[in-house]
């Protein structure tokens, strides 16, 4: 499904990855566990083409990341970044915009599904009329996750999506993600993930 093969990434002052390898099978849930600053987020960025690799290959569904396959990578993955970088906009407008993008037009969002997700993740419906700026970190994380779920793509790249949530909510989010049929790669320092057996942990 996904393979990072002999990846080398160097910055001016340090070597981030030296012949790094990882393979992820379809449906697998993988937790990347490494100290801060060791380049976990950089791997996600490399997958999406935001960070160039010095050498190596990133292969997704048999396609090697390059100019002509880049859109396949982006269209079939969903990335929730550490700070959930949503543009400041009224939430309902933002959702409307996201689902009006050409590649999302065929993804229908059912109101029922949205409501279900909102109540599962304990979000109030008046959030739709709020500005993204007014949301708390935890609310933003859950909104980012809901967008990711609604987009219904093959692979999820989740960067610290539980850091701003309380204990109970962390457990709910972890449970939801591990139960999904998607391929999921997770970056997190939360212990709630580690104790789970369904999860493959990759350390370096």
């Amino acid at each position: 499904m996904l393979e990072f093969k002999d990846i080398n990434i160097k910055f001016a002052d340090k070597v981030l990855f030296n012949n790094f390898n990882i393979k992820v099978r379809a449906g697998e849930k993988v937790l990347l566990n490494a100290p801060s600053g060791s380049g976990k987020s950089t791997l996600f960025r490399a997958f999406l083409g935001f960070q160039r690799i010095n050498s190596g290959e990133i292969i997704f569904d048999g396609k090697k990341l390059a100019k002509n396959t880049l859109n396949y990578f982006r269209q079939n993955s969903c990335y929730v970044s550490q700070d959930v970088d949503l543009r400041n906009e009224v939430v309902s407008e933002l959702l409307k915009e996201i689902f009006s993008y050409k590649c999302n037009k065929n993804t229908t969002i059912e109101q029922r599904k949205v409501k279900e997700l909102f109540s599962y993740f304990d979000l109030q419906e008046d959030m739709f009329t709020k500005n993204v700026k007014e949301l708390s970190g935890g609310e933003r994380q859950r909104l980012g996750l809901i967008i990711c779920i609604l987009l219904n793509r093959k692979i999820w790249l989740l960067d610290e999506v539980t850091s701003g949530l309380d204990k109970k909510m962390k457990e709910k989010v972890v449970e939801f993600i591990l139960k999904s049929d998607k391929t999921v790669i997770i970056i997190s320092h939360d212990s709630d993930w580690v104790k789970n057996e369904m999860l493959r942990i990759v350390r370096w």
């Binding site: 083409g49 935001f50 100019k67 880049l70 859109n71 982006r74 969903c78 996201i98």
Partner: protein
Amino acid sequence: METGNLTIISLIKIGILIIPILILNKYFRIKLNKKIFYAFSRMIIQLTLVGIFLQYIFDLDSPLINTLYLLFMMTVASFSAINKCSLDWKKYVLPILLAFFLPNIVMIFYFNKFVVNLNNVFDTQYFIPIAGMLLGNSLSGIIIGVNNFYSSIKENEKKYFYVLSISANKLEALRPYFRQAILVSNNPTLASIETMGLVALPGMMTGQILGGVVPIVAIKYQIAIMIAVFIVRYFSLILAIFLTGYKAFDEYDVLIE
């Protein structure tokens, strides 16, 4: 109404009124006198040169010379815009030059032919001043808009990446920054159009009236030129963003530093 021609003496008469300011600055220890000397000397030298040059061009009244002069002004404007936007001139001189060239050339000929109804669209008396007004506005429009466009993408890089990751489409991801740039560049023009005549008389109109034109004709020119200015400013900026945008992003849609 006869125009009183200003003499050197007239200029000195207005000039001596600056002296009290120089004295006050000295008294209050406001560090402005050096700047005043510098600014006014520069203005006098520049305008004198331009005056001599314009007189020469008016006497010649040659389509070729006028066109060359317009191209020269556009080149200067392009370099000025590239400089103010901190762009790499080797890479962007052609896109920016085109962004100035297309809307301004079309407008100047349209304006002279169909609005003023000139037989000779190169008539120096119209060609040079109108081109100057249009170009000046294109310049400020491009500087404000292009700067805003690229700096807000840079500042919001992560947000741009996020949208790019879920839309997989550079144009869709750039749309908000494009909208914002157009707004920021057009708002000042619209604000000044809105208050035109109430707060201050526009410069061109004042000049025309002082030059002996009746006010009713002067306002018609003012209205026509403001519309022309607005249109040219709008299209110059759109072109500037589109044409530079081709070169500003790498093949993975990431803004090249």
